[in-house]
């Protein structure tokens, strides 16, 4: 590593000339190779949020139930009974294209660590996935690898994968999105944070040994893909869920004692970011002696050890008098435990290796003088109104086509590869309800969990699309009876240096913020993934939202399955909005028009009404109306309950397939009472049909048997993948 450190090398490391100048000013000399590596990863987009910070700051992050908002490893909210939910969503997009299995698997591993590092036992995993055109062979390979990777890691580590979403669009052909979310449960008074404290206290490394895998992963995640992406395979890490399982148990066992002062996982930028952030947050210095670092390979340099993204590693600051007790716990679990340094009063990070000081950087300017960009933005032009679109195929054919299309086809092929029941608390499994329901072991209380985003809306109108993503998550929780509490966001966008992309980002944040305020649904954690474009092709703007809600009694949760004799009541206003609808794309072959508008006051009123009816016991099943519109929602409820529906409402293709927002279908036994309550609350509601028979019956249309509908709905994935 006798490479000369200069501006050209800094550029290779992803630092601009201006940023390198800033490094020189801070250091007052030419940095060492290792020091340049530290600056480059800490100031990468992935770690510094340099393009997004100015916008993220505008999101609402507070509510009486929020214990820790953004800034910690994960968000923490009070869920009652003295418990806290700890949760976050995070992307692993770039690695998942290069190496789908390992990219997705380590994505799951990384987000699990963000959650258990705060003292929470992980109880649920979810994901939000976007893939390219199913007609391409590469898409099939990526889907197969990502699904196997998520299952391979989650199943082995023993955390149920209970929910998620999958979309397809050619804009993701060269850049799929893999966003993984973990939810954990902790004692609300025993949350572990990362701020180091106590000069002289030992800095302890636990978990897997360090190898050369993933070096500069954070930098890779901060650039666009060109043709050479295959050559970046060495920057993808390999996960070991077995070690992660041991690490979870060992850390939780240690967390039950009073040994830990601070703890952080080694995620992106590995030992560099964990040590710099822990010391920086605690306003102390830190000295590391890499001679003591557990190593998997020989002859590793300080640079390699500091930048390695080997998985399943944690860094802790311990009380010195508890060090040996902690060592014994990790010995029990057969995990490495090494004191690799101590806290100092110098305000510097000092890295020694073989008796040589390889890095000595002042921490305050490394953090405070990190680049912050107000990048230029340009507004996405408003789409012109759609105008009338003729129905060329009829309701029956459109329903069967939509049920079979990749974006609406049954996801059972995917879910069936994820262990969703481990833990014995999964009340509503994937597909059973609008949000997954997971009871808390030993309590009647349950969590309602969902991930949502409609990227085609975001592309057409980023502000409305950002708003809709938040609203959809809120609605999905509401449709189970859950009280929505907070969200985590995964902002997946293309190159922020292009004003139209930065404009999408800013607009999406505006829309999200408005929805968060109107719905009392703050952002408590999140992740930004930029430069999602390959050879100049940007992804659709995708602000994926992970939503968390709570039910005081898990038994009150409702799913989608209807039963004979129930009346279906449509809540909300239907005008028949076809702009950006799946009907328009799949049947008319057009991706046009503005997406459906949202009235946040109506959303709130309709949703609060629906939740109230569910909790009063008046509702047997509920499903929100979203992708594909009303008839798709009804068909999904019929398939879930294996019960037909006789619909008495009449309307055109806009009525049946329009995607007007703020709507729910309720299955009730006393329709008159529900309709009266709706009228009293000023909520639009109408009875639209009865659950009965063997198929879907609409006025003037040949009945569609459940068998035919099910065959259409279940065809896509098995036919494509097997």
């Amino acid at each position: 590593m006798a490479q000369q450190v200069n501006e050209a090398l800094a550029k290779q490391f992803g630092l601009s000339a201006d940023e390198y100048g800033r490094v020189l000013a801070i250091m007052g000399r030419t940095p060492s190779f290792t020091e340049l590596g530290v600056f480059s990863v800490m100031w990468s987009e992935h770690c510094s949020y340099k393009s997004s910070r100015v916008w993220l700051k505008t999101l609402p992050t507070k509510a009486p139930w929020v214990i820790h908002g953004p800034g910690e490893n994960a968000g923490v909210v009070d869920i009652g009974d003295g418990l806290a939910a700890v949760f976050k969503i995070e992307s692993h997009n770039h690695p998942s294209f290069i190496e789908p299995y390992s990219g997705a698997a380590t994505g799951v591993g990384g987000i699990l660590r963000d959650v258990f590092t705060m003292g929470a036992r992980p109880v649920a995993n979810l994901n939000a996935l976007r893939f390219g055109d199913p007609k391409l062979a590469v898409t099939k390979r990526v889907v197969d690898g990502v699904v196997r990777g998520i299952g391979g890691y989650g199943n082995c580590v023993g955390v149920p994968t209970v929910g998620g979403e999958v979309n397809f669009h050619p804009a993701y052909n060269g850049n799929p999105l893999v966003n993984a979310m973990t939810v954990g449960i902790a004692d609300r008074n025993k949350i572990f944070l990362s701020a180091a404290a106590g000069i002289g206290n030992p800095v302890v490394y636990v978990g897997s040994k360090t190898g050369r895998d993933g070096i500069h992963g954070a930098t890779m995640a901060s650039t666009s893909f060109e043709k050479d992406s295959e050559e970046k395979r060495p920057t993808v890490q390999i996960g070991d869920p077995f070690v992660e399982k041991l690490l979870i148990e060992a850390c939780l066992e240690l967390m039950a004692t009073d040994a830990i002062i601070a703890i952080q996982d080694m995620g992106a930028a590995g030992l560099t970011s964990s040590s710099v952030e822990m010391a920086g947050k605690g306003d102390v210095g830190i000295e590391l002696d890499l001679d003591h670092l557990p190593q998997r390979e020989t002859e590793m340099t300080a640079y390699e050890m500091m930048l390695s993204e080997s998985q399943e590693r944690m860094l802790m600051v311990l009380r010195p008098d508890r060090q040996e007790m902690a060592r014994a716990i990790f010995a029990k679990w057969d995990l490495d435990f090494a004191v690799i340094g101590h806290l100092t009063d110098t305000g510097h990070i000092v890295v020694k290796h073989n008796g040589v000081v390889e890095a000595d950087i002042p921490l305050a300017p490394l953090a405070d003088q990190a680049p912050l960009y107000h990048r230029p933005t340009s507004e996405t032009p408003k789409r012109t109104a759609l105008g009338a679109v003729a129905d060329s195929v009829g309701i029956r054919a459109a329903l069967l086509s939509l049920l079979a299309c990749p974006d609406l086809a049954s996801r059972a092929w995917i879910w069936d590869q994820y262990d969703s029941t481990i833990g014995g608390q999964t009340v509503k499994r994937p597909g059973a309800a609008d949000a997954a329901i997971v009871r808390l072991d030993g309590y009647t209380r349950a969590l309602a969990l969902t991930t949502d985003c409609t990227p085609r809306y975001c592309q057409a109108d980023p502000e409305l699309g950002g708003m809709q993503a938040v609203v959809e998550a809120w609605r999905n929780i509401t449709a189970t009876g859950g009280k929505p509490l907070a969200i985590t966001d995964n902002m997946n966008f293309a190159n922020p240096e292009k004003p139209e992309i930065m404009g999408q980002f800013a607009a999406a944040i505006r829309g999200m913020a408005a929805a968060c305020v109107a719905l009392d649904f703050p952002v408590v954690s999140g992740n930004v993934s930029l430069y999602n474009e390959t050879q100049g092709q940007p992804i659709l703007p995708t602000p994926a939202i992970g939503g968390l809600g709570v039910l005081e009694d898990a038994a009150q949760a409702v799913g989608q399955a209807i039963a004979p004799g129930q009346t279906l009541v449509l809540v909300g206003e239907t005008v028949g909005w076809l702009g950006q609808s799946l009907w328009l794309r799949e049947i008319a072959g057009r991706e046009e028009g503005p997406p459906p508008p949202i009235d946040l006051a109506d959303e709130r009123r309709n949703g609060d009404f629906v939740r109230g009816q569910i909790l009063s016991g008046a509702v047997r099943a509920c499903h929100d109306v979203s992708d594909g519109g009303l008839l798709i929602a009804v068909a999904e409820m019929a398939l879930a309950g294996n019960t037909g529906v006789t619909l008495n409402a009449t309307g055109d293709h806009g009525f049946w397939f329009g995607e007007d927002q703020g709507r729910y279908v309720l299955a009730v036994t006393d329709a008159a009472a529900v309709l009266a309550a709706a009228a009293a609350a000023g909520v639009p509601a109408a009875a639209i049909g009865i659950a009965q028979g063997e198929g879907l019956t609409l006025p003037g249309i040949d009945p569609i048997s459940l068998t035919e509908a099910r065959e259409a709905n279940e065809r896509f994935f098995p036919a494509w993948m097997n």
């Binding site: 391979g152 199943n155 082995c156 869920p241 029990k332 879910w415 590869q417 262990d419 029941t421 014995g424």
Partner: protein
């Protein structure tokens, strides 16, 4: 009835098993870390599901060679009951406590779904909560649940009436379609000749609460709650 759950590193369904045993027996089973598993005084030992040692070698192969197996064999030798579920079943076959092996699922994918099990004999300590021929539902969650043995062994198992459970339709018909993982002769669970060791792939412990979708698995644990080693 005193039960203990042996936990090898990578085992991950130990808490599910503890919940089911606790619900049926009224007391929490002992959780026994493999390094210091003392099985004295236990009526029932359970090896639950998971990925012992990561299952990076053949599933269960590492745990089967673990020092803790000596205590487990001694428990069986003195007449104790032993239940292996999923990875526990794989470990018992690798250890030679039950015959056969669990191969990769026929479709080569991990399968997480409910299956239906037909009770082949109901006169054992494990199955006497059901009637012979009764069908119950249980979640399955495994990548390697495809039971295999040579024909002579399968014939002997059937001849000696040691097949406990078979994959079947909800109506109790043993069909290829109901046999998701491709197991030989639809075998989901088998017994030792002493009838004191049982291994099965599915997870009745995850279906003991109506809120989780049913209580089909509960009779198995209710039956175990009643057993006592003579």
């Amino acid at each position: 009835m005193k039960a203990g759950i042996v936990v090898f590193p990578g085992i991950n369904r130990e808490r599910d098993m503890a919940i089911a045993l606790h619900a049926s027996t009224g007391r929490a089973p002992a959780m026994l870390w493999h390094k210091n598993a003392d099985l004295t005084g236990l009526d029932l030992v359970v090896i639950p599901g998971g990925f012992s040692y990561g299952d990076y070698l053949r599933c269960g192969a590492m745990a089967a060679q673990s020092p803790a197996m000596a205590a487990i064999r001694a428990h069986v030798a003195r007449g104790g009951y032993l239940l292996g579920v999923c990875n526990g079943f794989q470990i018992l076959t690798e250890a030679g406590l039950l015959p056969g092996a669990l191969l990769r699922n026929a479709g080569l994918r991990f399968l997480s779904m409910d299956c239906h099990l037909r009770v082949e004999r109901a006169d054992t300590a494990f199955t006497n909560g059901y009637r012979a021929g009764e069908v119950f539902r249980a979640p399955m969650a495994h990548g390697d649940g495809n039971y295999f043995a040579d024909d002579a062994t399968l014939d002997r198992l059937e001849g000696e009436n040691l097949v406990a459970l078979r994959y079947a339709t909800a109506e109790g018909v043993v069909t290829p379609e109901a046999n998701f993982n491709g197991a030989a002769r639809n075998i989901a669970g088998i017994l030792s000749p002493s009838l004191r060791v049982m291994g099965l792939m599915p997870h009745p412990e995850d279906l003991v609460d109506p809120l989780m979708g049913g209580t089909d698995g509960k009779p198995l644990f209710d039956a175990l709650a009643a057993l006592e080693v003579a």
